[in-house]
Symmetry: C2
Subunit: 589 residues, 2 copies
């Protein structure tokens, strides 16, 4: 009973159940219409051209609105049109919300500013002696699409204002997705409307405070994921939570507590009240998403490593424990499948990979290494257990990319030359430094391609008492081999070689400091035209921000997450062999 709808000029083709409203279908497809009147057929802002398909008679209102906008007679209001047959529509620019540049570190994309949270100034209902209409009926009557909340807490929030004795006739409705109630505030508070974007990494977490009115980043903060004390990598945390339900609750409380420290600090510094922060978008890998909610990880602990959820509705903030408005919402970027989670779905959305012609490789180098290949319009993905070596964990002198970290190195005749962040005395080594040191040690003959440290002390001495041990080198070897094997197998799965790629995107903790020749030397990255390797930094965070600011981006991300096909590495018969081969530090053939 589905109909086929083609949307122009995007060329998007989707299946639509019989009788659905065209404006709803377009919104779910990520086309952001101007629905000024909330889809009630009154504002005339959502006209679309019916290129092919049923063209019902316009009604009286529609005729007037058509004339007013000087549109040809084959235009109809999307909010009044039901899809009953196959259809081709063109959505004119004048019927869309405009795109605007959004201040963004790492990625300079434009997007439609259309956050899920909306604040609307209202006049308090006046009491009518002859007919004492119920307070909530008066309020809900102002929004035809809204429904009263099925929650006692939210009902208390909405009705508190009815007890306030004030001369102020203004109040402010806070709505979610134009239909769910978050709050009703005394006075005009429309000027204060904030959100939080979270990159929830296995090792590192980053939090941004966003002004939802202007789409600007107010401030940001980063720190270690407080779960690190329970285990450095994803698998050890899943194992801990799986073995002991109490441990799982500890893991949940740890990550939420850590995020709240960052959030509370940001709010204090910027004098923003937590009650004016109405939504947080959290992008994390599958395991982090589950542990953040305290959901059981049993299915992630055993083959076939299925997630419990992909797309979830937004959840009440107080149930998650995040320190924002308790009746606000927390939206989790949709998991793709298995260990490939919302951070990757968000990242792909941030770089808008879907709308770039050609074949691309996307690599997110974190504690997990996730790899995505876009071949034409098809997406495939896999994840590798790279481990947190590149984030400085599990390395004896490892540290995050903070002042004092060795972040660059090269070999000169008499030894390794090191550079530290901010020129401070060396305190440790971060991911990019680690790769440079290994590459330099290979150049200088301190290390064999098989990873044996040649000196009798079995250490690579650095400076200031710092040194890499044989074990440290093994950690890097394992991490690089995992990523390399993942890329090779995913290329094989797509019957491709690197020659078929139009570009490579590298995301992750390395930022723009990863030395490409050195990465190629270790085999971490394939040999590739350097001008077509793009560093996109923390694309997970950029994606979380896009999902927070723009409902169309969120719709596109959900569609994409369901569309990407997951490939299990362990399934491939030649995985072991390829992995062992990849342990050797050498460039790709």
């Amino acid at each position: 009973m589905n109909r086929t709808l083609k949307i122009m000029p995007e060329g998007l083709v989707i299946k639509v159940p019989f009788g659905r409203k065209l404006s709803d279908v377009l919104e779910e497809a990520g086309i952001s219409l101007s629905l000024y009147c909330g889809g009630r057929g009154m504002c005339g802002k959502c006209f679309v051209e019916i290129v092919r398909g049923d063209l019902p008679e316009p009604n009286e209102e529609e005729r007037v609105l058509l004339a007013r906008r000087h549109l040809p007679p084959n235009h109809r209001l999307a909010c009044r049109y039901r899809v009953e047959g196959d259809l081709v529509v063109r959505v004119p620019a004048g019927s869309r919300l405009p795109e605007m540049p959004v201040l963004s570190r790492g990625l300079g994309r434009t997007l439609v500013l259309d956050p899920a949270v909306r604040k609307i100034r209202l006049t308090r209902p006046t009491t009518d002696l002859t007919s004492p209409r119920a307070f909530l009926d008066s309020i809900a009557g102002r929004f035809s699409g809204s429904r009263l909340p099925g929650s006692v807490k939210t009902l208390k929030e909405l009705t508190r204002i009815a007890s306030v004795d004030t001369a102020d006739t203004d109040m402010t409705a806070v709505l979610y997705q134009n239909r769910e109630w978050i709050s009703l505030e005394p006075g005009d508070t429309t000027g204060r409307n904030f959100g939080i974007a979270v990159d929830l990494g296995t090792t590192t977490v980053v939090v941004e405070l966003i002004d939802l009115n202007g789409g600007t980043i107010v401030d940001s903060a980063a720190g270690l994921n407080a779960q690190v004390k329970f285990g450095a990598d994803v698998v050890s945390r899943i194992t801990a939570a799986f073995a002991d339900p109490n441990k799982m609750e500890e893991l949940r409380a740890a990550v939420v507590g850590g995020l709240n420290e960052l959030i509370t600090g940001l709010l204090q510094t910027n004098q923003v009240a937590s009650e004016t922060v109405y939504e947080a978008v959290v992008a994390g890998n599958t395991a982090m998403s589950h542990l953040f909610l305290g959901l059981p990880v049993a299915t992630l602990a055993v083959s076939p490593y299925a997630a419990l959820f992909s797309v979830l509705p937004a959840l009440p903030a107080d149930e998650t424990g995040l320190a924002i408005h308790p009746r606000g919402r927390v939206y989790l970027a949709p998991n793709i499948q298995s260990f490939v989670g919302g951070d990757i779905a968000a990242g792909l959305t941030a770089i808008d990979l879907e709308h770039q012609d050609g074949n691309f490789l996307f690599i997110d180098l974190g504690t997990n290494g996730e790899i995505v290949i876009k071949k034409g319009r098809r997406f495939t993905t896999t994840s590798t257990a790279a481990g947190p070596a590149f984030e400085g964990m599990t390395i004896s002198c490892g540290m995050l990319a903070l002042p004092g970290a060795v972040y660059k190195a090269r070999y000169r005749q008499d030894g390794l030359r090191l550079e530290t962040i901010a020129g401070q005395p060396a305190k440790g080594v971060c991911g990019t430094g680690l790769i440079d040191i290994i590459a330099g040690a290979l150049d200088g003959g301190l290390l064999s391609p098989q990873g044996h440290i040649r000196s009798p002390s079995k250490t690579i001495a650095l400076t200031n008492g710092l040194a890499l041990s044989q074990k440290d080198v093994r950690e890097v070897q394992l991490a690089a081999a995992a990523v390399k094997t993942g890329i090779r197998m995913l290329l094989d799965e797509n019957s491709m070689t690197t020659a078929d790629l139009d570009g490579i995107y590298v995301a992750g903790a390395f930022g723009n400091y990863l030395n490409i020749p050195n990465s190629v030397k270790l085999g971490l990255l394939p040999r590739f035209d350097r001008s077509r390797i793009h560093f996109v930094g923390n694309s997970s965070l950029a994606g979380a921000r896009a999902l927070l600011l723009s409902r169309p981006e969120r719709a596109r991300c959900e569609i994409l997450a369901r569309k990407v096909r997951h490939v299990s590495l362990a399934k491939g018969a030649d995985f072991q062999e390829l992995f062992i081969e990849a342990l050797e530090f050498k460039t790709w053939k």
Copy 2:
């Protein structure tokens, strides 16, 4: 843009927004269709006759299903039909859920057994190594109309089963309104599905345990509303809660705690686990509904005495504190307006007043006296502050209608002859006894029509040391006058006299024991043909039960609650005069 829909044979005429699905519209109008396939156009059970209006071409499936049911060509599936023009439909009996007699104390109506909670046995999803589909996506995919819950607690509930390592391939989905998830239970638990009906009175509360599978009453229990210690009547409790928010929370906790004692007792006695009780329907007056949820009562404390809500969505049980399945639902019978609450809306639904031809008076004698007049198809209502005298409160020797209560009395030459419940020695006087004693005292000349006790002791001696004081008589005088004034003013408002009435329904604590001639003698009831006065007992409880068992009844009740017009007694200029006149014990003119 609304269309007019006429539903036959009911003759119901309603307005429908353009493009709505006919099956949804019919359901909201209280017509219960057989939607075996959940409205997916597959089972062919919801055919309706299109008597007048658009008759679109049937599609292939519809043609096959039409032939299979041997229906004339003007029948269409309601679940596929969009209302786009004015329409007259006839819903054949074969497309409706059947009505069944429901065991009922007080009222022997039949209704459609169609509870909001539905349990469905499912097979556990098998794991697929090649595509690890998210667990919740597998489950939700079985129910096209369902949506994943926007609640962390419910997500935990649904995913717990994914961790259970069992050979049992059965599990049971518990759905609310066919689309919201309550639970997912291991094994086949469809046989255990219970609900609770609550009459939440100001003075007395009654709780019934209902088997939702068979529609039978398993057991019931009654007790005092634990809020009584904060004040005997509605106004004193509103005042207490209004003055002090902490007191409000105490009031809420008191009533919920009291209900839980009754519920827990019922469950223990009948060996029913609280986790198998998925819904409670609570019918109470407006103030009780607000206090039950802990919502502010400020608007009920001052003119125009507006409620905060009328129709509410069902609420999560754990938020209300009721001791049933924590992720179950609590539905509040819809408030009509001002002090006329869900108990009256439920009561009117229970006796199905709407579908009786003629003019009727409905009186619910509780701590508030609510009065409804149905004149043709129009409903008007008002409430009076009768006070709890008829429930035994505020009377020096008053008690509930329990064994040992004087429940009947008459005057014989030498004094009052008393009868007690169960023939036990007299412990006190209940409501019906009180009316008989006052009437007898008038007959015997012990009391003047103005309510003066003539004996020098200023008491009416009864037995066993029991006696009515002058203050007790005053309480009865005030209560009866409030009810009488309410009836008279509502008749005036409708330009009617008792001669225009086709019948009188009397609901409330009195049950069937109210002595009509005595009630008429005191002026509590108007003079009226005795055969047309119907005692319907606790119609609020019967209504709560009907709303619990039948979604069509609930839909009808919500429509009715919005339709009844409220009249404020205090507004009438002649209220004071009529009230003072009514203080005299005498029959109506």
